[in-house]
Amino acid sequence: MASVIELDNLRVTFGKRNILKDLTGALSGRAIGLLGPNGAGKTTLIHTLLGFYKPSKGTARIFDVDIQKHPKLVRSQIGYMPERDSFIADVTCVHFVRLMAELSGLPPGAALERAHEALFYVGLGEARYRKLGTYSLGMKQLAKLAQAIVHGPKLIFLDEPTNGLDPPARKRMLELIREIKESGHSTVVLSSHLLRDVEECCDEILILKDGEIAAQCDLEEERKANRKFLELETRGATESFEQAIAGLGCEYAVTGNQRMKLILQDDVNISDLYKIAAERQVQIRRLNFKRDSLEDIFLKAME
């Protein structure tokens, strides 16, 4: 599959601080989740791809177009829903979305028609003649989504789209994102620190930590892989127990006090674990088979 976003040694520096540190990789999913703790560089990466910040080194390509050489061409293919409240006060929502559509290059008549359609699509059809200043937070989020999709972009950046939403509104937002993804017209990049949101919508993830790529994986592939995941709760586990587990060739992650998750290799049996535990006088209090969740991938990346 052709890459949607290619990062080529991308570095972004503010002052003397490197915010993005030589990122290299290619993303090709239909819905890409951008994960990471606060300050990891998710928003900076999106802003750099949009041309808001100039890379101090390297570059990136979106649909094979260099973001530095052809910024307008890149932006003409993108829709962006910012994290913070962003709107134009004292105008109706339909006027706002129409203005955004026209700035994206739609002729006035088509822009007005698409603005109405986009607002109906996101569920603001009945409120489209109200001024944006009177909208609730959830409605403002939907209005931001409408302006991001009104011109039918090939790539949509959604920066924390479920921030501040109540559960029904969040559900509605995630449904919309899934619908857009499944329409096949656009690729969605969803930046969030809410793992569940990303897990529900995305098929590929990029995890950032301190401006570096901590992990990148195809969630679909991970889900399809028939791997045996175990969750252990122990008493008296020591470092030598963990080393012995690793010695069996099992990937593992310590997830909390006396808890660990591990991937059982084909040639390793459960009895081997009990044997190791007995040798080191470690009690295995609980042992569950578990599917690898995004949380596991994330926690492992954060180690």
């Binding site: 503010f14 808001f52 910040y53 307008k72 962003s86 026209e102 088509a110 059809g125 039918g152 972009p153």
Partner: protein, 292 residues
């Protein structure tokens, strides 16, 4: 309007040319600006002076009307550089009021509501965004300054004859450039101040103060030290000097000689002021500010 599509899909029609996108900004801005009855009224009133001056020009060339009104031709104000200088002074004052009313809202509203990322994530550059915002003022102020000024000039030329036109063609330059410089100054100052202050009312106040306060302070300094050089910080005086220079007048306000700056200093001061405003705009008009 009736909405038939409730699904999501790409746009498959013809896009507008890239160069014309910035014009979307003033088109939408005019819709908002002319919703205000106060502004619309003021804008209509701003054509009163050109109308009166057109009548004066007409009277100059209509003996019957003068006879009817019992006015001798020598009692009428001569149609010369002073006549057009007065026109530009009056219209510039009106332009200032209009700029104070609408200028600061253009950028400050976008900055207050974080709308800049929404503009700049589209194929619109910062320059095009500012050009779009500036053109709101440039077009409106042009409509009440140099456009009627040049129409009056053409009217006078038509009534007076080709000889007058050829002899006074420089006056057309003076009308255009003096008004246009004033428009650029007002536009840049109002955009720059609103970008830094963000609060519309305060930005309007700051625009007003940026002419009144330097004028008051520099007048005191000039009176104390009897030197004109502090006037380089007075935008009104800079425009006064440059406009007089363009209209080939030495001192249209009959000020004391030690108050008047040399013409080159006026031009230089204006260029520095323009550059400063552009620097202010480039510092603040960004999708996101980077806090080091």
């Amino acid at each position: 309007m009736a909405v038939f599509e409730h699904t999501y899909g790409p746009f498959e029609g013809q896009l507008t040319p890239q160069w014309s996108r910035f014009l979307v900004i003033p088109r939408h801005a005019y819709r908002i600006v002319f919703k205000s009855k106060l502004f619309t009224g003021l804008f209509v009133l701003s054509f009163l002076c050109p109308l009166v001056m057109a009548v004066l020009i007409y009277l100059h060339h209509n003996i019957n009307a003068l006879t009817l009104l019992e006015i001798g031709p020598t009692n009428l104000f001569p149609i010369n550089n002073v006549f057009f200088r007065i026109f530009t002074t009056i219209q510039s004052s009106v332009a200032f009021v209009i700029a104070v009313l609408i200028g600061p809202a253009l950028v400050s509203r976008d900055l207050t509501n974080n709308a800049l990322p929404l503009y700049l994530c589209r194929p619109v550059s910062r320059f095009e965004y500012l050009l779009g915002k500036a053109s709101v003022l440039i077009v409106l102020l042009s409509a009440i300054t140099w456009v009627p000024g040049l129409l009056l000039f053409v009217f006078q030329s038509y009534l007076e004859g080709f000889g007058w036109l050829r002899y006074n063609l420089w006056l057309a330059n003076a009308i255009f450039f003096s008004c246009f410089l004033w428009i650029v100054l007002l536009t840049l100052l109002s955009l720059a101040l609103s970008a830094w202050i963000k609060w519309r009312i305060a930005a309007s106040g700051a625009l007003f103060a940026s002419f009144i306060v330097p004028a008051a302070v520099t007048t005191m300094i000039t009176a104390l030290f009897r030197t004109p050089w502090s006037q380089v910080f007075n935008p009104s005086m800079l425009m006064q000097v440059v406009t007089d220079h363009l209209f080939r007048l030495d001192n249209s306000l009959n000020l004391e000689s030690f108050v008047i700056l040399p013409a080159w200093a006026g031009w230089f001061g204006l260029i520095v002021l323009f550059a400063f405003c552009i620097w202010m705009l480039t510092r603040k008009v960004r999708a996101y500010e980077v806090v080091s």
